[in-house]
Amino acid sequence: MSIIINIDVMLARRKVRSKEMAEAIGLTEANLSILKTGKAKAIRLATLEAICRYLDCQPGDLLEYKKDG
């Protein structure tokens, strides 16, 4: 997948634990793990909005496009 989710980076910048954020935005830890490990096939706008609001960032801070190869 050439879309990379930099959620770990943002969590580290904001000094927030992933469990804390999951609880705050109502995301299960299993789903957050899917996001962090890059297994996610799609992300709902509502989820993206909740993460952005909590981490006070833009979607572009979380998502990055890298060309394959």
Partner: protein, 183 residues
């Protein structure tokens, strides 16, 4: 979901029984087709699985031991297919019993059932019927030997429908996988 799981448990056991009973009934029948063993074997196969080991026009009086052994081996063709179908169904119902419904592995088992049904629908009325009638009437007087050849379009159509269902189930499994990985 509970309903699917409880029914699947019953069908899984039935498939397992078919896997064990079918070859036993076949052997039992060919030990002595005219004796009680034959009657039990035939009763089990015809009542439970709607199948017989010999065409009805055959006369069991003139079957020698060598003929019976050869017929048993030929009977392994349809029974083998039925056992294969029973095995695939057992695996499928095992998945359903665990609550795994829209999975790629289930689509694989449904496809296996369809393919076995299709090959059986082609081979049994042609190759098997021809062989079994030929072998069992081999010792008949000249002019009374049989050579049967039939074809059942309905079985072929049902098998193709089952294969198509497997494709649909595969698509459903892919949609479910996408849903599972949508956060």
């Amino acid at each position: 979901m509970n309903k699917i799981q409880s029914y699947s448990h019953v069908f899984k056991i039935f498939s397992l029984l078919a896997l064990i009973i079918l070859p036993l009934a076949l052997i039992l029948y060919w030990i002595n087709p005219l004796g009680w063993e034959g009657n039990i074997g035939l009763a089990i196969s015809s009542l439970l699985f709607n199948t017989t080991f010999v065409p009805q026009v055959m006369n069991p009086q003139n079957w020698q031991v060598s003929t019976r052994i050869l017929a048993l081996l030929i009977d392994l063709i349809p029974i083998g297919f039925m056992m294969g179908i029973a095995y695939a169904l057992m695996q499928l119902f095992k998945c359903y019993e665990k609550g795994l419904v829209f999975e790629v592995i289930n689509a694989h088992y449904i496809k296996l059932v369809g393919i076995l049904m299709l090959v059986k629908a082609i081979i049994v009325p042609t190759l098997y019927q021809a062989l079994i009638t030929l072998v069992l009437s081999w010792h008949n007087p000249p002019g009374q030997r049989y050579f049967y050849l039939t074809i059942s379009m309905s079985d072929i159509v049902i098998a193709i429908i089952v294969i198509m269902i497997s494709w649909i189930m595969k698509e459903a499994a892919q949609i479910k996988s996408e849903q599972d990985y949508t956060v």
